[in-house]
């Protein structure tokens, strides 16, 4: 049972990680605590769901449309809620408020659209196949989720550290002003960052929607709260930190349910955050040298 629960924890944790990646990316590059990330995740899931229910698209296409949907909402959010603030050089606090407002609007729109119903992907969107070996029960969907998350993380790291676009993103993260002098167009970079962040959230939305059998307008809110813990624990702006902290939170949560009580899971997750902050205020991977690679200090 321990192995089974660890597996459950890894699956949940990797999706937390995927969700938190986009969250931490925007924080790292733009220094924005994007409180609307949960609603972008939800809209990604909606995009995937409507694609499946209206056009009967298969699983991989649904994931792609979820990514596209999340990416688009995220870019629109940047244009309407953050860009005007950036132009005026408004303090970072303004963008938090702006993102809360945007999040409320996106939530109400979704609520109106769905009449508050809980929706779900059709049962046949993904075949329910479970493998049993060494007493471990693994669902095919769980394996696919882990594979997608690994692919996304490797892809993102490659993009950031091995391509010219990634170099430009990192340059903007260090200093938007200096990168402008070097001929980089920060508008194009922000477009990319917000699109990637939204797309990651959208993919997480579709995956969570399928694996947990539930798509509704509030689905992003509990995740946003956990993503907070994940990115603070992992070190603000750190990509490996987000993934590892995501896994850690997933495992802690799962083991608490398994061996203590389901009611204690959140309490333990937040206690872990508290303890880690006492010992390492910058988070597990937030040491000055670690973060600087993706973010400005």
């Amino acid at each position: 049972m321990l192995m089974q629960q660890l597996l459950n924890g890894i699956v949940v944790g990797s999706v937390y990680g995927l969700f938190a990646l986009g969250f931490t990316l925007i924080f790292g590059v733009n220094h924005i605590m994007n409180m609307a990330h949960g609603t972008i995740f939800m809209w990604g899931a909606f995009a995937g769901l409507y694609a499946v229910t209206l056009f009967d698209v298969p699983f991989p296409v649904a994931v792609l449309i979820g990514a596209l949907g999340g990416g688009l909402v995220s870019v629109i959010l940047d244009w309407t809620a953050f860009r005007p603030l950036r132009k005026q050089g408004a303090p970072e606090f303004s963008s938090i408020v702006s993102s809360i407002g945007a999040s409320l609007i996106l939530l109400s729109l979704a609520q109106q659209l769905t009449a508050t119903r809980v929706m779900r992907f059709p049962f046949d969107i993904f075949p329910i196949v479970a493998f049993n070996f060494f007493g471990l029960r693994i669902q095919l969907l769980q394996l696919v989720i882990i594979a997608i998350v690994v692919l996304m993380v490797v892809g993102l790291l490659y993009y950031l550290y091995r391509t010219s676009f990634g170099r430009q993103i990192r340059a903007v993260a260090v200093s938007e002003h200096t990168s402008k002098l070097l001929g980089i167009n920060p508008t194009a970079i922000n477009f990319q960052v917000f699109f990637i962040s939204g797309a990651l959230a959208g993919i997480a939305g579709v995956l969570i929607g399928i694996v947990f059998n539930s798509v509704h307008f509030m689905m992003g809110e509990p995740l946003l709260l956990r993503a907070f813990v994940v990115i603070i624990l992992g070190g603000l702006g750190s990509i490996p930190g987000a993934l590892i902290a995501g896994l850690l939170i997933g495992i802690i949560q799962t083991l608490t349910v398994a061996y203590l009580s389901a009611g204690l899971a959140d309490a333990l997750v937040f206690s872990t955050l508290f303890l880690v902050l006492l010992v390492r205020p910058t988070g597990l991977f937030g040491g000055a040298s670690a973060v600087a690679r993706v973010t400005r200090r």
Binding site: M1, Q4, Q5, N8, G9, V11, V12, Q111, A115, T116, R117, V118, R120, F123, I128, A130, R137, Q139, I208, V211, F212, N213, S214, H216, M218, M219, E221, P222, Q253, T254, L255, V257, A258, S261, A262, G263, D266
Partner: protein, 378 residues
């Protein structure tokens, strides 16, 4: 400039005063405040309840049960939130000047609003099942029976007909009503000699029940019981089956699962589930048949347990206004509300009544899902 501003100000005050005096609720009409959790985690119950309530009031207005007097509905969203409910009770009582309030949706909200309603002396008839609603005072009343009442039917059936001996309990730990149902069920089963293997508190905002599923799959149990909103509970059931809980481990659920959304969300996993329900949509009673038709005509889909509960509550509220006699005031409605006995209703065994402690009773039925539909369990 100053003069213009002053004129504008005076003008708007005058306009405001005129609208206030010319408000549609003429002297003849009665105002009722209707609030439910139309948004938030309990909206899945709140929306059909609100629909059921509005239907009952519309029917009362059309049938002229109150003579020439019509009821004006003032709607609001309690959002599943205690603080919002308290604010709305004050608003309804003090600025809207309603005769009575119906709703909110959950015990959680109602236990916040009930003390305020008693303080402001405005009758408040709510959905919840918690006893604290009655304890708050004579102005607050509830339509649902206490957890023990309805759970008694389920535990009796589980022990005597299904032969259940070991059970695990899963419940929404943030909702007083669900905790009450779990506690009642636990006590009843304990008294019948059934072993409670584990108790698991979840939240209605949770969607990940994989760990819980694996835990249940590893237990030696005959059945598991889930007290949570239908969509959440069906998700627990579905993930439990996917996580390896075999179908011979039975699923037992309280009245919240007596809705089609349970079968829709859980799909094939709902097959063979046992649910105690205070309402059965297939009930052939004349009152229910009429209600099902009217509800379907009005909203395009059939009523569920919640819609029926809202309809039953609003019908009782209208009845208490009627019993309060001509020119009803809050005091008279409160007395009439407390005196309601043996009222015809669409829920339970068709008669809604109260005992001396003002606890409602209306019977219940145990339903089971067969071929994707609810039917009475034999």
């Amino acid at each position: 400039m100053k003069l213009l501003r002053r004129t504008l100000l005076a003008g708007s005050v005058a306009m405001l005063a005129m609208t206030a005096f010319a408000a549609p609720g003429s002297a003849e009409n009665i105002k009722i405040g209707v609030m439910n959790a139309l948004t938030g985690a309990y909206a899945f119950g709140g929306v059909p309840i609100q629909n059921g309530m509005k239907l009952a009031i519309k029917e009362a207005n059309e049938s002229g049960v109150l003579g020439d007097t019509k009821i004006d509905v003032i709607e609001a969203d309690s959002a599943g939130d205690k603080g919002q409910t308290i604010t709305l009770v004050s608003k309804f009582a003090q600025s809207d000047n309603v005769l009575m309030i119906i709703g909110p949706t959950t015990s959680l909200e109602a236990t916040g609003g009930a003390p305020v309603a008693n303080e402001l002396k405005v009758p408040m008839f709510v959905i919840g099942s918690s006893k604290a609603i009655l304890d708050a005072g004579p102005y607050s009343m509830k339509v649902q029976s206490v957890g023990t009442d309805i759970m008694g039917h389920l535990s009796k059936y589980a022990v005597e007909k299904l032969g259940v001996k070991k059970v695990s309990l899963v419940f929404d730990r943030a909702n007083d009503g669900f905790v009450g149902q779990k506690d009642a069920f636990k006590k009843l089963l304990g008294d019948a000699g059934v072993e409670i293997v584990s108790e698991e508190g979840i939240l209605s905002s949770d969607t990940d029940f994989l760990a819980l599923a694996t835990k249940l799959a590893g237990q030696d149990i005959d059945a598991f019981f889930v007290a949570a909103p239908a969509e959440v509970g069906s998700n627990v059931l579905l993930q439990a089956r996917q996580g390896g809980v075999p179908t011979n481990v039975l699923f037992l659920g309280p009245s919240t699962f007596g809705s089609d959304s349970f079968i829709e969300t859980a799909g094939g996993a709902s097959e063979g589930a046992f649910v105690v329900s205070d309402y059965f949509v297939g009930d052939q009673g004349e009152l229910n048949q009429k209600f099902v038709k009217a509800y379907t005509d009005a909203y395009g889909n059939g009523p569920d347990n919640w819609a029926a509960m809202g309809y039953a509550l609003a019908t009782l509220a209208v009845q208490s206004i009627k019993e309060a006699g001509p020119n009803p005031d809050r005091e008279k409605v409160k007395d009439a509300m407390n005196a309601l006995r043996d009222q015809p209703t669409v829920i339970g065994n068709h008669t809604w009544s109260m005992d001396e402690g003002r606890n409602p009773h209306y019977g219940a039925a145990v339903l089971t899902v067969k071929d994707g539909k609810f039917e009475l369990a034999q």
